[in-house]
Symmetry: C2
Subunit: 337 residues, 2 copies
DNA sequence: AGCCAATGTGTTAACGTTAACATACTATTA
DNA sequence: TAATAGTATGTTAACGTTAACACATTGGCT
């Protein structure tokens, strides 16, 4: 079967301990034996059994990552960034995808505990309760939450300053002269969505504009179809908006499709800003979008995890992330009301 | 620390074996003890340590998945499908992403062996050599290759009938009356790309058309920019094509952008078919694309893996997958030459 | 010479789970 | 009545790795 340390030891005519010392580069081993053992290891293709190592050390070298199926693209990007960061630190990532509301999350938390992962990173609008996260903590598994966070002892957080960046994006429209600025977002209740909506209101407020209720389209889901319905409503309004701020690029897809069908052009007929910066570059035209620094988020998440592995009892820390405005010039100058 | 079987046994005043019998539902346990032990397990929150189980059984319940960074979207979809299929069978997936050409693949193969994964699924145009795959086989780890496959004993394969479906897609254009049909693909050498190109030629051949060399744009990468450059070239041709078949939706993004800028419309001015069906629904307009049955591919991959776990020595099997044409009406009727 | 530090090597008891084996008590049945 | 099958429970040796401990041997120092 698989070659083990004892096979190497036997082949080299030494004890397990000596092979161990060669493998870990510690203790005393005579130069010639070291070389011989190294040769044999390579020749036999010996690879340490991480399962046995894990049992001994109670560390699996695996990080668990819980995310949501079919979610906003931005979380897929964050997932990639986490994997990359983990690989750089010698960890591997076990990604579990939840389909929300099926009660599978409890199972998944148990699976992660069962596998004795060295830490867990949570993204997306998962429906994991504080209770379930508490279970991880009880088992001494560090937890980092991204975007959707709980205020719990021993749990570290990465929060994105969605409100400020939304404010910035809408301010950008105001600066170009727009006054009738619409909003397309997803069902409120998600912290992220509330923040983006709040930022939108902040900007209008700042400019002394009272948002017309027709301008605010809150959709039940992230989808192209939702985007299509939203723009359809907006175009129907008595005073249609001259610019639209959307909380996800996916809405922009639907919006652009409807505009394309009706022969309306961006930004000539309508100015647009999306959010995520995940799809915006693909579209016709590529649209201005609020971008999240995915790599930075992944790096910070891992860093928080490693930090807590070293000091389980430390106070919770929170890292704030600032999105940026990726300007692709889909907000035109607007003269008028 | 973590609760273990012996803690449960002690709390229940029984031996390890009895707790084991309750956990595995085998052997004889008196009804009252069983209930008492189950109660204690729940109360103490005991979760079996999979690492210890793995050491005993030499099975990790983890499947390794090797894929490529920044690749065609279709492989991300296949990855998701694999994870879903694995979850259904009680496995978890450890996904390793290679950046190709950095020689990190050897490390990754070793990592997978080290973790004693129960099987490995390979997707994408990875640069894993037969040698490295051989190392997995030597360690009795079943391997399934998707799309890019090797003919090796003990290695099972999933091949997509790209040639036939490309033929079908181009035939669809021919049937609508198009004669000047262009091709945008990626650098040949990838089997997948060669097949798609061959299918394109097959169709033209069938119709007795000799493809003009200006019509064939072979790009060095999958990117929007490549799509933009390709369409730019095609529009410059003396006799510009009336329809374009592309080997990836990502090219369609670039193509549509350039057409948008120039005020050309799809399919009025130009007919398009993409490939992947990953982005095509997002675009303006949504375009017809060759779709791959991702779920089916993931399910088959897992099935092959499980099959081989049961019979290591079986002959290699190959499953053929047929793509379908997702018609979004971006090929118009064409009267003329 | 006697002692100590440095060097080189081996033995063994964990880590948590599993399953083979052993033991013992009942209730049948020939 | 004694053998046997069925029920109920416990003991223990693995799985592969690690690290604490133990034991030698050498060389240099007082």
């Amino acid at each position: 079967m698989n070659i083990k340390m004892s096979d190497v030891a036997k082949a080299a005519g030494v004890s397990l301990a000596t092979v161990g010392r060669v493998l870990h580069n510690n203790g005393y081993v005579s130069e010639d034996k070291r070389r011989e053992i190294e040769r044999i290891i390579k020749e036999m293709g010996y690879i340490p059994n991480r399962i046995a190592q894990g049992l001994k050390s109670s560390r699996s070298n695996i990080i668990g990552h819980l995310t949501l199926f079919n979610t906003n693209m931005q979380f897929k990007e964050i997932s990639s960034a986490i994997s990359a960061a983990a690989a750089n630190s010698g960890y591997h990532v076990l990604t579990l995808t939840s389909h929300m509301g099926l009660g599978e999350e409890e199972q998944q938390i148990n699976d992660l505990i069962g596998h004795r992962v060295d830490g867990v990173i949570l993204t997306s609008y998962h429906s994991i309760s504080k209770d379930l996260i508490g279970r991880l903590i009880e088992n001494h598994i560090p937890v980092v939450m991204i975007e959707r966070t709980y205020d719990m002892p021993m749990v570290d957080r990465i929060v994105v300053n969605d409100r400020a960046s939304s404010l910035g994006a809408v301010r950008h429209m105001l600066e170009k002269g727009h006054r009738r600025i619409a909003f397309i977002g997803s069902k409120l209740g998600h912290q992220v969505e509330e923040d983006r909506y709040a930022g939108y209101l902040d900007a209008l407020n700042e400019a002394g504009i009272v948002p017309h209720e027709d301008w605010v389209q809150v959709m039940p889901e992230y989808s192209i179809e939702a985007g299509r319905m939203a723009i359809d409503q907006l175009l129907r309004a008595g005073q249609p908006p001259t610019a639209i701020f959307m909380t996800s690029d996916i809405y922009a897809c639907g919006v652009l499709q409807v505009l394309y069908e009706r022969g309306l052009r961006v930004p000539d007929d309508l100015s647009l800003i999306g959010y995520d910066n995940t799809l915006s570059a693909l579209l016709s035209p590529p649209i201005t979008s609020v971008g999240l620094p995915f790599k930075e988020i992944g790096d910070h998440a891992l860093q928080l995890l490693l930090q807590r592995m070293n000091d389980q009892a430390a106070l919770s820390s929170t890292i704030g992330i600032d999105p940026f405005l990726m300007d692709r010039h889909t907000v035109r100058e607007w003269k008028g009301d």
